[in-house]
């Protein structure tokens, strides 16, 4: 029996952590814990990417998701203070059903996606071209993948607009001056000259 290479061991370690913590994300009752488990999932995936020599992606995952997105998420979750209502009852009520579905799905995946069906002959070679990962990525992104890159940019822009348009509310009870209206006004709209007959002194 061949000894298992150390790299394989590390891979399974990270993969195990990723799967387990992902399960915990949806299983934990406390949202803060859920977010923290998500952070763990990201870190584990980052480790796997590092194993695949994709150091740029690995680092960017940690920087952007763990460093920025998740922190923001954590703040939000803490601030809105979600009630820890017990979803337990419903959860256990649906659990057998859900578990059955998952079991079936996994079974079918085991049948269909058995490793023997994947030939690595058609895969891109494991050896990367020479050069820093970042540089290589940059070269590809701005040449062969320029079109998807731009569209992805547009997608992000759209997401920003969509998000803003949904949450942005014009202040309702705020009184502001309508300068144009003020300038456009005419005398007749503001002043009414009334002709009052002068009172005569009654003698």
């Amino acid at each position: 029996m061949n000894p298992i290479p150390i790299s394989m061991l590390i891979f399974y370690l990270f993969a195990g952590i990723a799967v387990l913590s992902a399960i915990m994300v949806i299983a934990s009752n406390n949202p803060v814990r859920g977010v923290l488990f998500l952070v763990v999932t990201f870190i584990a995936s980052s480790g796997m990417w590092m194993m695949a020599q994709a150091e740029f992606l690995s680092l960017i995952l940690v920087l952007v998701y763990v460093g920025a997105v998740m922190t923001l998420f954590l703040f939000v979750v803490m601030m809105i203070n979600i009630e820890l209502t017990s979803q337990k009852r419903k959860f256990s009520y649906y659990l057998p059903f859900g578990a059955g579905i998952i079991l079936l799905l996994v079974l079918m995946m085991l049948i269909a996606l058995h490793p023997q069906y994947f030939s690595f002959g058609s895969m891109p070679s494991g050896v990367l071209p020479k050069g820093a990962n970042t540089e290589l990525l940059g070269k590809v992104l701005y040449t062969n993948y320029a079109y998807p890159f731009i569209v992805a940019g547009v997608l992000l822009l759209t997401a920003i607009i969509a998000a803003i348009s949904l949450v942005h509310r014009r202040p309702r009870d705020c009184k502001s001056q309508q300068v144009t209206e003020q300038i456009k006004t005419r005398r007749e709209l503001r002043v009414r000259i009334v002709n009052l007959p002068s009172e005569k002194k009654e003698d």
Partner: protein
């Protein structure tokens, strides 16, 4: 690294639309009271894009941008119709959005969504298909929720978003598996990789295919992935429904063409089988449940499911004639669909949505012209000659019969008769019931003109279907 400079002319319509959209965005930001300017600019953007497509329409076909984008007749044709249908939906939305304080983002998000559709129908790689799909869907989720004071809209948006995300996940999973076995993102490359693949690996392909079909089915709202459609159609503001029920269907069919025909022609017998199930379920569920609806928007949602079932009949036949028939069907359907929701928009006013079938009572005595237009729409949906709906159904049924599946054609015709019931009920309500609200209908002249063109187009195309048939034929190089 071999880098070929791309042909930018192939992406000219998309580039134009993106530039115009950014212009609209800036206009909205810096001009106060910019509603009409934004509206006009959006229409210019859509029409300009359509014109660019029309000018570029020809038989040559080539890929560029490193094989991410294909320029061909099919993509151009779908692009033309997507732009025109979006343009019609915007016309219907003009007064509706103003009266209900739906912000200008309706147009901006609509334009981005249209851009996503164009990207999707001209995509030639999994990456572009996925990006296009997301760019198409994301603005739609937001558009549904744009009417912030409506709780039903918010609920609908939430459902749409969650289910859309799940469906995207399924599609993405399927695509990643395909990438895994073929080692390429490029659609023709995937197809050629499959031809050299040993037979045993086809199990993976089939597994991936099911996920891909699930993603497609969701976007098309084909049963059993249709559950979002009735709730979203009903909950969304009608102007948004008019948009999301029409143009995205064309794009979804475009995606199906690209994925199934370009990338997976070798496993046609497998997806043929899956599509039969989808089609039978959609036709049955759509036509039967629509009968029980009293809400017109909901009824149209189920009718949309049934129509998609009929369209799939053309697609599943697996030959170029069938594809043309499906294309013809979806183009016709999008015209009918945008018209149907447009009619609801037209009859609604601030504080009142004419979305129940009861609201159409005695429409003939209130406004005979609009009643006639609605009748044309309904007849076309039911597939009654001389409207073009008849031709659309005839062509897909013919395609099915030619593939020796007479039972399926008979089944489809029988359920079409069931379907005719609820369309004719609307006509009966309009013509034979006493109006509940005798006030004459006041509607803006541009909307009125548009609905007239929209409905009469169904009649004219029904009498002269030659030109549309011809372009559908050319799109598949027949």
């Amino acid at each position: 690294m071999n880098f070929q400079f791309p042909h930018f002319s192939a992406a000219l319509p998309e580039i134009f639309l993106l530039s115009m959209t950014c212009l609209v965005l800036l206009t909205e930001l810096f001009m106060k009271y910019s509603r009409s300017v934004v509206y006009v600019l959006s229409q210019v953007a859509l029409l300009g894009t359509a014109i660019l497509f029309i000018l570029g329409f020809n038989n040559i076909s080539y890929t560029t941008f490193n094989g991410h984008l294909i320029f061909d007749a099919l993509g151009s044709l779908l692009g033309i119709f997507i732009c025109i249908i979006a343009c019609i939906a915007f016309i219907y939305a003009k007064h509706y959005t103003r009266d209900r304080n739906i912000p200008n983002e309706y147009y901006i998000l609509g334009l981005f969504s249209t851009l996503g559709m164009l990207v999707m129908v001209t995509a030639q790689s999994f990456l572009m298909i996925y990006l296009g799909l997301e760019l198409l869907s994301l603005p739609l989720y937001a558009m549904v929720a744009l009417q912030k004071d409506s709780p039903t809209a918010t609920e609908a948006a939430m459902k749409y978003f969650v289910m859309g995300a799940i469906a995207s996940g399924m599609l993405l999973y399927g695509l990643s598996l395909l990438y895994g076995v073929s080692g390429s993102l490029n659609l023709p490359a995937v197809a050629s990789a499959i031809t050299t693949m040993p037979e045993k690996q086809h199990l993976v392909l089939v597994f991936a295919l099911v996920f891909v079909i699930a993603g497609l089915g969701f976007k098309l709202a084909a049963a059993p992935f249709h559950m979002w459609a009735p709730d979203v159609y009903t909950g969304a503001p009608t102007a948004v429904t008019a948009f999301l029920a029409s143009a995205p269907k064309i794009a979804a069919l475009g995606m199906a063409f690209r994925l199934l025909i370009t990338a997976l022609p070798q496993i046609v017998s497998q997806w043929h089988e899956l599509l039969i199930i989808l089609s039978v379920l959609s036709i049955t569920i759509g036509n039967v449940i629509a009968i029980a609806q009293s809400n017109l928007k909901r009824m149209l949602a189920y009718s949309a499911i049934a129509h998609i079932g009929y369209m799939l009949l053309g697609l599943l036949s697996g030959n170029a004639q069938g594809y043309s028939a499906a294309l013809f069907y979806i183009l016709v359907y999008s015209i009918m669909s945008v018209g149907g929701f447009g009619m609801i928009v037209l009859l609604s006013r601030r504080g009142f949505e004419a979305e129940n079938i009861e609201d159409f009572k005695g429409l003939n005595s209130r406004n005979p012209w609009l009643a006639f237009m609605m009748m044309l729409l309904m007849l076309s949906m039911a597939g009654v000659p001389p409207t073009v709906g008849f031709f659309a159904k005839l062509l897909v049924l013919k395609a099915v019969v030619q593939t020796q599946m007479v039972w399926l054609a008979v089944f489809a015709v029988l359920l079409a008769i069931v379907g005719a019931f609820y369309y004719l009920r609307v006509i009966k309500t309009m013509y034979f019931d006493a109006p509940g609200d005798p006030t004459p209908i006041a509607c803006a002249s541009d909307t009125r003109l548009m609905i007239s063109i929209n409905s009469l187009a169904l009649l004219v195309l029904g009498i002269f279907p030659g030109a549309l048939l011809e372009v559908c034929r050319v799109a598949f190089g027949l």
